[in-house]
Amino acid sequence: MSPAELEVFRKRTLLASGVLFSLAGVLFLLGLGGRGWAFFLGVLLALFARFLIKAFQAGVKEALVAPLAEALGFRYSPERGLSREEALASGLFPPPDGYEAEDLVEGEVSGIPFASSDIALYNKVEVKSGNVSTYQYQEFFRGTLYRFHLSFSVEGEVRFGPRGRRIQVVHKAALFIGAFIVVIGLLMVTVGVLFGGVSIRDALPFYAFLVLFFFMLLASTLRRKEGFERSKRVVLESPEFERLYDAYGDQIEARKLLTPRLQEALVRLRKYLGRPVWGAVRGNDLWLLVEGKDRFPVPILRPVGETLEAWKARYRAELLEASRVVKVLRLEEEARRRGALLGEGEAPQTSKQ
């Protein structure tokens, strides 16, 4: 279908779904007046209207994403995606119970080969209903994974992610529950001392136990944090980078990769995207994982031509911003190879303070 035909399709869908939603609204009102069949019919009509919009959006994607990718010099395969093994090789997430990938785009940007696809990760959770337990897949991440193939190999490995995202998930709940138990315990013993006739001497062992329990909990949480993240966390110079990202890796190897120039490029990328970004650099690959629902949104109220233009501009800019990171990596690597960074390895002369 040509863009002109898609525009006719959009107008027709907009009119049909508008009429259906209006009718559904009237039927809902009737349903509220006590007519159950009207409510049921209203739901059916609303679902049908939604189906029409979804069909239109899928049609536009099918018709336009491939030509868009080709116009930008890329190859697009709607059904394919980066394989589970490839995605896991990024090391950006633990093996999920369920993995889906689609919208594979491959090509070169500024001479750098890349592949990207939309991915969704699922965890299998048990749902109990009475004595019957069933398993459901719950989505815990949806976004776009980019793999840029570097023309040079990078020593070491570094990972970065949105500030504070990983630590919070693991440790905060345990600390909160422990602190809650301690506070309740303290309150109960204190009430006993003040109003229940318990002497201070009898209450002291309880207080000591609660305080000890709290410190043990705190120490265990901190130690786990230390082992899990903190010892590997690399604090870098750029305050902007530190505000947006947490970097992990060997203290020296990570700093060799995350030079001030690269930190700047990553800050710029994050600001441009406006969404959380995870990344990993390992061997010949740079991986970027961008959280977000849909790379190619199709708003039904916007003319198809404008949607296509918006896609082109956004997708090109997104890739260019990401490739800027690769270019900085390449520039640093080249400069290093030619000895231009020798100046940064100067002798330890110290400033007097």
Partner: protein
């Protein structure tokens, strides 16, 4: 009796909080101090790696760079000086060693035949890698010192640090002559 019990409880809670604060502050100061020592050890280890490569470098280039004998001899002397000294003098020796190495790199351009020597190219790659690691280790050290110095001036750490006799530490700085950014365009045209 109720008032007495309340007062005792308030006092105990206050004492417990004070003790917890002290333990936390003391541990933080010790952790920062150890982190600086660890980071400095990392810098030292990288500098040692560089010193170990210098005899091989001198050996690999001396037959090509016969006219630079003085410079190569100076490099060897500075390396020995850095090996046997400690503290401020050691740092000074390392600084001069870095400058001498840079002079060697600069003069290498005049000896294109060196580029054909596999041994030299290997050494050059190794030295470049070490310099890169030194730069990264220095950034790690500077970060650790910044955190340490901050702790020394912040409450509640400052009194504990003073009692432990800790003083501010200096950070590594880039020498004046190296502050200008390298001309990468010129470099890539070579």
């Amino acid at each position: 009796m109720l008032l007495m019990n309340t007062l005792i409880l308030v006092f105990l809670v206050f004492l417990g909080a004070l003790l917890a604060l002290f333990v936390w502050a003391y541990n933080t100061v010790v952790a920062r101090k150890n982190q600086v020592e660890n980071a400095f050890g990392t810098v030292e280890a990288q500098l040692k790696r560089r010193r170990d490569l210098i005899p091989n470098l001198v050996e690999a280039v001396k037959q090509y760079m016969a006219h630079e004998r003085d410079l190569l001899e100076r490099l060897t002397r500075l390396r020995e000086w850095a090996e046997r000294t400690q503290g401020e003098e050691h740092l000074k020796a390392e600084g001069e060693l870095s400058q001498a190495l840079r002079q060697v790199w600069a003069r290498l351009e005049a000896y294109p035949e060196l580029k054909a020597s596999g041994n030299f190219l290997q050494l050059q790659a190794a030295l470049t890698e070490v310099e890169d690691s030194i730069a990264a280790a220095r950034r790690f050290y500077n970060q650790a010192v910044t955190e340490y110095n901050n702790v020394l001036e912040q409450i509640p750490f400052a009194p504990i640090a003073r009692a432990m006799g800790l003083a501010r530490k200096p950070v590594f700085t880039v020498p004046e002559e190296e502050r200008a950014a390298p001309d990468l365009g010129e470099l890539f045209r070579r």
